[in-house]
């Protein structure tokens, strides 16, 4: 270690840095440290495109760590409230044919080795072709989320890299990828004014509308290998 670094560390023995318990005077503060937020984020499990599943939710989360982080770290609301708003509906997977099994086992590793990935994530039935780092403006205001919440998107119809694409029928098996999105906030648009007129009537009516949109940022796109589905 360099002399200067050693010296810096000794200098940092200032009493103001080691005074205990000062932080407890402050109002409530988010208790998660940055590493916690990064690794196991505030998760509101959103089962998007839930409508197509007619099965009753048997509520067995496939990923136990996700469920755990939901219990510990939901910021906006209690986990029960998140569970009530966005119940976890397990995906109904058609048993894959032997042909598709062979393709996944053979070609998915090749897809993973290519550097950039995209996926077509479905959020409430609408497809969005995204890569990591993209921003999505949802056409609605998502209820029950606050800025900073992390959603796990678990319905995707395609996964792909430059030369390979994995298509789902209609959705790709949710164990094959991990896609997370951070809620950035709510945006709006300039007020729309529509002038309604009727023939031979001298009155016209202004109809005003202003919509609110939830903004998401795709923070993570990971593609798992074929061993995730037992191939």
């Amino acid at each position: 270690m360099s002399r200067s670094l050693l010296r810096s560390l000794f200098e940092l023995r200032a009493p103001s840095t080691s005074r205990p318990a000062a932080q407890f005077k402050l109002p409530a503060r988010s208790l998660s440290t940055t590493p916690l937020r990064r690794n196991s984020p505030t998760t509101t499990e959103s089962t998007t495109a839930a409508a197509q599943n007619a099965t009753a939710p048997s509520s067995i989360p496939t990923n136990p760590t996700e469920a755990a982080s939901l219990v510990t770290e939901s910021r906006s609301q209690t986990p029960q409230a998140a569970e009530a708003l966005y119940p976890r509906i397990p995906q109904q997977v058609n048993p894959p044919t032997s042909e598709s099994q062979a393709t996944i086992a053979q070609l998915l590793p090749l897809l993973r080795t290519q550097p950039a990935h995209y996926l077509t994530a479905h959020i409430w039935g609408r497809p969005y072709l995204v890569t990591a780092g993209d921003q999505i403006r949802l056409p609605f205001k998502m209820p029950g989320v606050v800025p900073g919440d992390v959603l796990r998107l678990d319905r995707a119809s395609t996964l792909g890299s430059r030369d390979f694409t994995l298509k789902g029928s209609p959705y790709v098996d949710e164990r094959l990828f991990e896609c997370r999105a951070t809620v950035l906030g709510t945006e709006t648009e300039p007020m729309r004014i529509k002038i309604k007129t009727k023939r031979r009537q001298r009155r016209n009516k202004q109809v005003r509308s202003k919509h609110h949109f939830t903004i998401l940022r795709i923070s993570e796109v990971n593609i798992n290998g074929p061993e995730a589905v037992g191939l």
Partner: protein, 430 residues
Amino acid sequence: MSNYTMKRLRLDRVASQLLAAPTSPAARLSRPSRISRSIPQTCRHSSLYNTQPCQRRHQSTAAPQAPREEELVLEPEDGEPIPETLRSGPLPSPHPSRAASSAKLAALHARLSLSSKIPVETLARALVDPSADAHPKYNNANLAYVGSTVLHYHASETLIARYPRLPMAILFTAMKGYAGNPALHQVARAWGVESAAAPGEEVDPGLLQFDPMKPTVVMNKWGYVRAETIESQKFKSGKGLSGRVMYSSNPFGESSAAKALPNFEVDDGRNTKTMLLQNAPANAHANFVRAVIGAVHMHCGRDAAKSFVKSHFLSRTFDLSKLFEFDLPTRELARLCARENFEAPVARLESETGRLSRTPVFVVGIYSGRDKLGEAPGPDLDSARVAASINALKAWYLYSPGQVSVPSDTFAEDAAPWKPAYVDIGEIIS
């Protein structure tokens, strides 16, 4: 390269020692005083670590300045405790006790979602630039130096492990793009840090305090100016790339900051205008960001600091292929193929359209034997060939083994033993 890869920071030993309460009063008294007396003699030119009491504080009074009460607790050998009523002038920076009542500071702490282990007083100290308060116990110089070493370590190990063939010039610039002053200035602004109009005792502790007209501290790699750097500047040597590797004063291969440093003491009044920093706001913001990293490292430990650096700095988008500028790409590609025992590169026309028109397009591929190294379109045959060889060279230099482990992964308790990563022998010299 060795500057980056093998610089092992054994901060853990010292850090744990520092944050723990000293067991015996004798140890508490002896250790700081010993260090503070021995080191300034060894490094005369240190601008970071001037522990002599600040002259600015003493100017107004003949009696020694009353130290703040924390100072008295730590270093009783400085003199008898002087009650606060005898204090003559205003303090250069807000008193640490005001940090707990600052709403701005608490909001900043929560916005960065820092751990509650980091007290707001430390965050307040990170906001005081040496130009505002020259006393090393109350400004952020030391925190920033610790933070800069942590940041540079993680940035360099990530870059080298992920892109093992980067040329040195590109590596320097990439380090600057991630951890240089301009990038850190942007980070500080994205954190919503506001700066005070002028530093002083009365400003809110949640504001960044610096004075552009006063001397400050420029972070460099060594913490002081090395004798060989001064020598090399005297004789105007060390301008080439190998000289930059050897004599640079920061991890970005620059030595410009060192020019100002030798006479650039924090607390003397001799600084002339020519020695002042070009971009003092950027330097102050960047030092604040480094100090926050240092605070995370000191209070939360090595792993927390690593994930803080990863989430705030290394996750930024940076396209390294935009950094390259080649003089003679075709010749360099030929040298590369000779070095690697490839067949000599041959340019072939792949496709063309409108050769006789005003806007022709030629697509040229560069082949070595049966392997295609690169391809590019161009408006004439020659520029298409040059562009194709640039693409081939970029493909070589930007080779990445994907997500690889870095040396600091082995610091974890149950980590697998380190498997040496592949690092290329170096760039092509032609």
